[in-house]
Structure formats: C-alpha cells, structure tokens
C-alpha cells in the first residue's frame, strides 16, 4: 500500500475531467435528502424546547393524537437504551429525556398526513416544563454556583475541585517550559476568544424512513456516513444492523455536521409507530438551533522568542464549551495548536465545559481552527514587536521530517517548509500594500485520517467497469475515484461508472470525514483494480497456457512478459471481459481495509485586508492558499477544497457567530443574521497546490479537505491588526469590535 516506488507517468491523474454526477447536478435531476418520496408518506415534525434548561415534568400528546390526520407521536420513551456514554449522549441529543438541555432541544415528534397538520399537532402537545437556571458561556459554566447540566458527565479522574460542568481534560506537550522561557528575549502572554460557528451547509438535514411491520426498515438521508447512521439508528431503535438499510442521498454540504444523527432515528421511530413512511426535513431555524455548531473558546497563550525569532517555549491554556454534552474536540484543538512548529518546550492544555447549547459536532478539522488561531495571532504580535518577517519566523521554527511534534509522534516527510517557501516566493507576498491595508500570514495543520473502507469493482462484458464505493460524494469524489480506477486499469475515464452504494451492498465504510475519501477510497480503489487485474492476468495465462506470473498488465492490456514477450497478441480489458463467462465467470476486484498512513497536511495562507478606519468595515482584497496535497488527483477539486475552506475560515474570522441572549435563547437562527460570506464579500481566492508525496499512498495522496479552514482565522486577524495598527484578540471581528479597538 505504500507509495509506488517506480516513478510513473500518469495519464489521467492530474487532469481535470468532468465529474460523472455533474449533469445530474446542473439539471436539477440529482436527488438530495428532501427530494425523495414514498407512497403513503407522512410528514414528521419535531417539538422543540422553548427554554434553555428545563425539567420535563410531563408530556401530554392526547390532543395532538386526537387531531385528524395525526398518525403517531414519539417521545424519549419510544427509543431503546443506547449502549455506552457516547451513544447515550447522541440519543439524548436527538430526543430530550428528563431535561431539555438547550433552546431547540427536541422534546417530542409527530407524524401526520400533511405538514400543515403536523405543525398544528405540535401546538397541541402539552409539555409541562419546570424551568431551571441556565448557563451558555464558558466563564459562567465553571463558576462554583453554576447550574450543573449532568452531574454524571463530569470528567472522570478529574482532580478535586474541578467544576462539575467540566467533561474533558486535555494536556499535551514536552520539554521544560520554565527553562525555555528563561532563554527568551521576549515573552508575550495574551488572552483570546472565539464564538461558536456553524458549518452552514446549504441543505438542511432531511430523511425518509420506512419501517415495515416485520421490523425491516429503509432509510434515505443526507449524511456524510450512512453506515454510521445505520449503526446509531439501529442502536437507538433496538434493531440489528441487517434490518436497517440506509441509502445516502446526494448531500448538500456537511463539513462534519452530517457525521452524526439528529432527525433520522426520530423518523424511524415515527415510521415504526405509524406503520407508514415518514419524511422529515429540518427548517433552517432548526438547523441552527438543534444541529451541531462548533465549540466557542477562550485561550491564554504564552510564547517566548529570541531576538532572532526562535521560539524557546510555548504554552497554551484552552477552554472550550461544546454544548450540553461531553466533547473531545478540546483534545484535537490542543494537539493542533503548536503542531506546525519544532519546539523544545511546549505545552497545550485545556478543558471542555458543558453549557445549555446544542451538542457540538465536527466542523472541518474540528478544534484545529480555534486551537491554532490564538497561537498564530500571538506569533504575529511577537514578529511585530521584534521587527521580524512573519514567514521567516515560521520558516525558522517550522516542523520538518524528524521533528517531535507538539502532540507526541515524530513527523515523517511533511510539506510545511516547502509550503512556507512557496508563500514567500509568491508575488502576493511581494506586492506593496496601500493605506489602511494589512497582510496577514498563518500556518495551519490537520492530521487527516484513513479508516475502514470497502470498494468493489465489476468488469462488465463490454469492457466498461462499475466501481462501487460507500462514501457519500460531497465534493467530486466519484470523479477522483473513477480517475484512479481508470489510471490503474488503463482504460478511459469515461468507461468507469462509480456509484455510492447503500449499506447492504458493500462492506462498512467510515464516513466522508477526516479528509479521508480521496486517500482511503482511492487506495482501496487502486487495490481493488489490482485485484481485478490479477484475475484478468490469470485468465489470460490460462488462455495462453503460460504461467500467470508471465503475464503483465500494461496500458489496459494483458501482455506476455519475460521469455514469452512478443509470443502472444496482447489482450485488452474489453477482450478479456467479453469472454469472461467462458474463462471462469464474472471478473470483479474488491478491497477492504482499515487504512492508516493518511499523512498529515499543512497549509499557509496570505490575506490582504483593508479596514475602513471610520466604520471598522473590512474588505478582503486578496487571498492566497498554499497547501500540500501530496498528489492532486483532480486538481480543480483540490483547489476547490482549498478555496472553500478558506472562505469558511474567513467567515469564521469576520462575522459568523452564535449569539445567545441572557435568557439563554439563540437570537440568530437564520442565514440573515448568521452571516456567512456571500459572493460579493470575497475576492478571487488563489490556490497554490504543492505536491510532497505521502509515502503511505500508492499515488502519494494526502487528504486536503480540512486543513484549509485552519489558517484563515489568524491570517485574517493578523491582516486586520496590521491594517489598524492595533491587535485584535477576539473573533468574529465584526465591525463594531474593530471600530472599538481602533478608537481604543
């Protein structure tokens, strides 16, 4: 599975063919979560808590059930007991048990013959709440008298005196901090703050569930991982995995937010109770209130530096709130905070605290943006204080092959230095700035994962090939998978059709997350192709009556090799396929793996920003992304990941935030006031792909999807700070905050 050592000339890899699902997506034919119907289908709707924190004394659904057209009402008692704390948390987040833990927490659900009737029925469900004191901010949640959400979720093994809402403790690093700081010429310590953001996928969660009286069920839903959906739903409904078949619809964005379930088990429970298919779709308001935003954070960062720019010691104290349940994202934030640097003394520690907010979900490199932002912002401040170039300082301290990372392991070949050098040499970095303009620099890091993956591949009689994989295509992966299959088999890309199969059709696949698909599915596709090739060579060896090892595969043909070379006319894949039934039956290849060796990824971003000194309005003038892709299979979609991640990070830095009132209620549950960037907010985003091959993949692929959201927070913050000549230390940098700092 390691990088093919022979230097190979790719024919298809690195080109930009059209994506196979493209025509469906430009003509409106592609079917997303809410686009499916079933005969006799009911509409499901969820009743949500109007309170931030309340004990549910009783739920009386009798009036709702009496309404004509209402077929079922479900509450927490309609679900099985989930196994393990994580699954219990996910289930409780889908449907409140004894307490509503946040504004918008699901309390009950109804299925009716129309959406109008379902909405009327929600109003008829009487919930008796005992309103409890609430807490939504980190500072308040750790106070001794703070309302405690779930006493049983306090961090296990936490030291005496740890506040009851603290669920996770984190601590990474090495070396002697005290000695390190003693070597510094300048030590700066600052505090930073970020707010919760949302993935902001344009497609709200939607599904269609159908369970028959025999207990077998089908579920259609938009998800990043339908196997994970199956496993969670089956657990919550007390079903075996084989009883539930999940089909992933086309997915309208996820960015991590569709790796967990919200409405899917509820739709199944309603369908079970009503005996009919049930369709559910969240409204946008529900998406904001009750899906999974990111943690908000507080950070205290202390870094020591020599006059020459060498970091002598670095210490981060991070505090995340991840909503009403435990969250391990603090670990990822702490691990990523200093990962870009080769440090002798480094420590990143922190905790997660529960608040009356929705349970956080992954968002593109979860934890990394808010772990890295304060570090990169403080490094910029040190550079200014010491009169040093911010790229030079990063190059001086950059992690490289053999560096003991800040989170423990030693790096293999990585591309950070090459990426920094590319940024330094780029014309963007060498273009002069005008008045009220600033240029920000930031590095970013993400681990990338592999994970369980299954791919199978059937060679059709006419020489075309059907590739079956199990990862929802969220950004063009059918194209990259098809390209890798075509490359390996030596047949035209157009002769491949790649489909994303349901959970019954192919082995388990981890979700489309962790930047894993091009890496893992690609790896499995290449290996499945090699499996099919091996079978084809064996068939041809029988035809030629020579040893299978004497048949080689080249350019889509079986050719005699070695001493037999030239003795037989090569046979094309199509020729072999046409006679498959005569030579032993259908030909297929498959590969199942838990892929490791994903290869970490680094990015460097440059942002030029102009600030209106009288209003604090910021304009992003120019933006360039430099990232190591290992090997870009379809460069246009690699660029797309880099540009899209940058845009999301810019939104995070500038205007996006969850705003809770003192009443604990979410105030901006809509796209109007949760301000994601619109087309006119952004400049062209230049994407510069570097290719430092990942030794763990046959073609050298590294995941690219997540890293690009990590650097923008600090790149934008550093640019704004340089433009106004004062330091910004809180996100989002909405104009009122910038103007306040300007007026100082």
């Amino acid at each position: 599975m390691a990088l093919d050592t022979e230097k190979r000339e790719f024919k298809i890899i690195g080109t930009r063919p059209l994506r196979p699902d493209g025509i469906d997506k430009v003509t409106g034919r592609a079917l997303y979560g809410a686009d499916m119907v079933a005969p006799g289908m009911l509409e499901g709707k969820i009743l949500r808590s109007p309170h931030a924190h309340a004990r549910i004394v009783s739920i009386d659904a009798s009036a709702a059930l009496a309404l004509q057209g209402v077929k079922a009402v479900v509450t927490a008692s309609d679900f099985s007991e989930a196994k393990g704390e994580l699954m219990q948390n996910i289930l409780e987040n889908c449907m409140a048990q004894d307490k509503a833990l946040y504004h918008g927490h699901a309390v009950a659900a109804v299925a009716a013959t129309s959406e109008t009737i379902a909405k009327q029925a929600l109003k008829l469900i009487k919930v008796d709440y005992e309103v409890l004191p609430h807490v939504t901010e980190i500072e308040d949640a750790v106070k001794p008298d703070a309302p405690v959400l779930r006493p049983d979720r306090r961090a296990k093994g936490a030291p005496e005196g740890t506040p009851a809402n603290i669920t996770n403790l984190s601590n990474f690093g090495h070396g002697d901090l005290e000695a390190g700081f003693a070597k510094a010429d300048l030590i700066i310590e600052r505090s930073f703050r970020t707010e919760s953001t949302h993935q902001g996928y344009i497609e709200p969660h939607a599904c269609l569930a159908s369970m028959g009286p025999d207990g077998k069920a089908d579920l259609w839903c938009c998800t990043q991982g339908h196997y994970a959906v199956r496993d969670m739903c089956a657990s919550f409904l007390g079903m075996s995995l084989s009883q539930l078949r999940v089909t992933a619809s086309e997915i309208g964005g996820g960015f991590g937010g569709k790796t967990v379930v919200f409405i899917e088990p509820v739709a199944l429970a309603l369908s079970r109770k009503a005996g009919k298919p049930v369709k559910m779709a969240m409204t946008r308001e529900e998406v904001f209130k009750a899906s999974g935003p990111t943690p908000s954070s507080l950070a205290d960062i202390k870094i020591g530096m020599t006059k020459g720019g060498k970091i002598t010691a670095a210490h981060a104290k991070l505090r995340f709130q991840g909503g009403a349940f435990p969250s391990g994202t603090i670990d990822l934030g702490a691990m990523c905070a200093f990962a870009a640097y080769d440090l002798e003394a480094v420590r990143a520690e922190g905790f997660n605290v529960m608040t009356n907010r929705p349970r956080e979900a992954a968002y593109r490199a979860p934890g990394a943006p808010i772990g890295v932002y304060p570090v990169e912002a403080l490094i910029d401040e040190l550079c200014i204080e010491l009169g040093l170039d911010p790229l030079d300082v990063r190059l001086l301290n950059a992690a490289d092959k053999g560096t003991k990372s800040s989170y423990g392991p030693t790096f293999e070949a990585i591309g950070l230095k090459a990426t920094l050098e590319a940024a330094k040499a780029h014309r963007h970095y060498n273009t002069p700035l005008g008045p009220n303009q600033g240029r920000g620099v930031s590095c970013g890091f993400w681990f990338n994962f592999g994970g369980s993956t299954s791919v199978s591949m059937s060679v059709n009689d006419d020489g075309t090939v059907a590739v079956t994989e199990g990862n929802p295509d969220i950004g063009g992966s059918r194209a990259s998978v098809g390209m890798m299959a075509a490359e390996e088999l030596g047949i035209p890309y157009e002769n491949i059709r790649t489909i994303v199969a349901d959970t019954n059709s192919i082995g388990f696949n981890d979700p489309t997350h962790g930047s894993r698909v091009t890496f893992s599915v690609g790896l499995a596709t290449i290996e499945a192709a090699r499996d099919a090739i091996k079978k084809m060579c064996t068939r041809v060896a029988k035809i030629w009556d020579i040893d299978p090892d004497a048949v080689m595969w080249e350019d889509g043909h079986a050719r005699p090799a070695g001493e037999n070379a030239g003795n037989y006319e090569p046979m094309s894949l199509a020729e072999i396929a046409a006679i498959a039934s005569k030579t032993g039956g259908p030909i297929a290849g498959h590969y199942e793996v838990n892929a490791d060796s994903a290869g970490v990824s680094f990015g460097v971003h440059l942002a030029d920003i102009e600030v209106d000194p009288e209003t604090g309005f910021s304009t992003v003038l120019r933006y360039t992304v430099f990232q190591d892709a290992g090997k870009a299979i379809h460069p246009a979609y690699v660029e797309g990941q880099m540009q899209g991640g940058a845009a999301q990070g810019i939104g995070w830095a500038m205007n996006e935030e969850y705003i809770y009132g003192k009443d604990g209620l979410l105030q901006n549950a809509g796209f109007l006031d949760y301000r994601i960037p619109v087309a006119s907010d952004l400049p062209p985003i230049e994407a510069v792909i570097l290719e430092i091959p990942n030794p763990g993949h046959p073609y050298g692929v590294r995941g690219v999807g997540e890293t690009a959201i990590v650097p923008p927070l600090a790149a934008v913050s550093n640019a704004v700070s340089r433009a106004i000549g004062k330091r910004m230390r809180a996100l989002p940098m909405s104009p009122p905050k910038i103007l306040k700092v300007i007026k100082g």
């Binding site: 409106g28 344009i202 950004g475 796209f671």
Partner: protein, 158 residues
C-alpha cells in the same frame, strides 16, 4: 381545506394545480409537480437555492405563494437545458468544477442565466453582487464566478 385552482406555465408547459393558500410556489414545484431542482435551503429568501424566474424576473420561489403564479410564466433549473443540449452556463459550471456538493447549483444557474440575459457583459464585481443572494458554502465562489464570466464571454461570442 380551501384549495385554490391555479393555471400557469412552467418551463413552457401548461400546468394546473390545486394549492392551499399558504403554500409557496416552491412547495408546489417540489411536492406536486416533482420539480425538485429548486431546493429549500432556508425558506426565508436568504439563500437563493430555490431561485426561479417569474415572467423572466428572478425570485425566490419560497417567497412566492403558489396561488400567485396563476397566469404567469415560471422557469426552473429543469428548463435550462434544451433537451440533451446543456446551456453554456451548465457546461461552464461543469468544466470549471464550479460545484462541490451541488445543492446551490440549480439556484446559481437560474440566477446567472437571469444575469446574462439582462447584462450580457457583466464585470466580475457585478456578477458577484448579482449572485450575492445565492449562498454557496463549498466553493468560496471563486470557480462559480470564473464559470459565469467564461459563459458570458462565450455567449457574447456565439
């Protein structure tokens, strides 16, 4: 129920439907006419995923009542291609890889088509402002704008 009988034209074809007074054009397009190309991303006119034209005028179909469409000409993403022949905009969106998840793409196409019909030679900034009501969370808009500008150039040349 007090349903309203509506006679209208969708993508050039005569269409009749019965709708409830509060139902939106988006509801009827998707649920009755099974034209699911227009998506409900927000239901409040903030995302543009449900964009259609009404007598040539770009609107959010979530902010039009189905009852209002009577006697009008509705055009949706399903009507942009001419049979098997993709519109230049559709081709350019594909060529430039200007979609990732694709859920905003129908709205972008309807809006961009309306733009180029009104302004065949837009500047990049004009294109960005015209499309500001079409949220895309995947692409950062870069490739979308490139595709629209490229399509505009080709349409002017054609």
């Amino acid at each position: 129920m007090n349903k309203i009988h509506v006679t209208t034209t969708v993508n050039g074809d005569p269409v009749e439907y019965l709708c409830e007074p509060q139902e939106t054009l988006l509801d009827v397009l998707r649920n009755q006419l099974r034209l699911t190309g227009a998506k409900e991303g927000c239901g409040t006119g903030d995302c543009g995923a449900c964009s259609v034209t009404l007598n040539g005028r770009l609107v959010c179909s979530c902010l039009v009542l189905a009852a209002e469409a009577g006697g009008q000409e509705v055009a949706t993403v399903e009507g942009i291609a001419d049979g098997d022949n993709l519109h230049i905009l559709q081709k350019k969106i594909l060529e430039h890889a200007a979609l990732q998840c694709g859920v905003c793409t129908p709205g972008i196409l309807v809006a961009a088509k309306a733009l180029l019909e009104k302004h065949p030679d837009p500047t990049e900034v004009e294109a960005r402002y015209w499309l500001a009501g079409n949220l895309c969370r995947c692409t950062g808009y870069d490739k979308i704008i490139t595709a629209v500008m490229d399509a505009a150039a080709e349409m002017r040349g054609a």
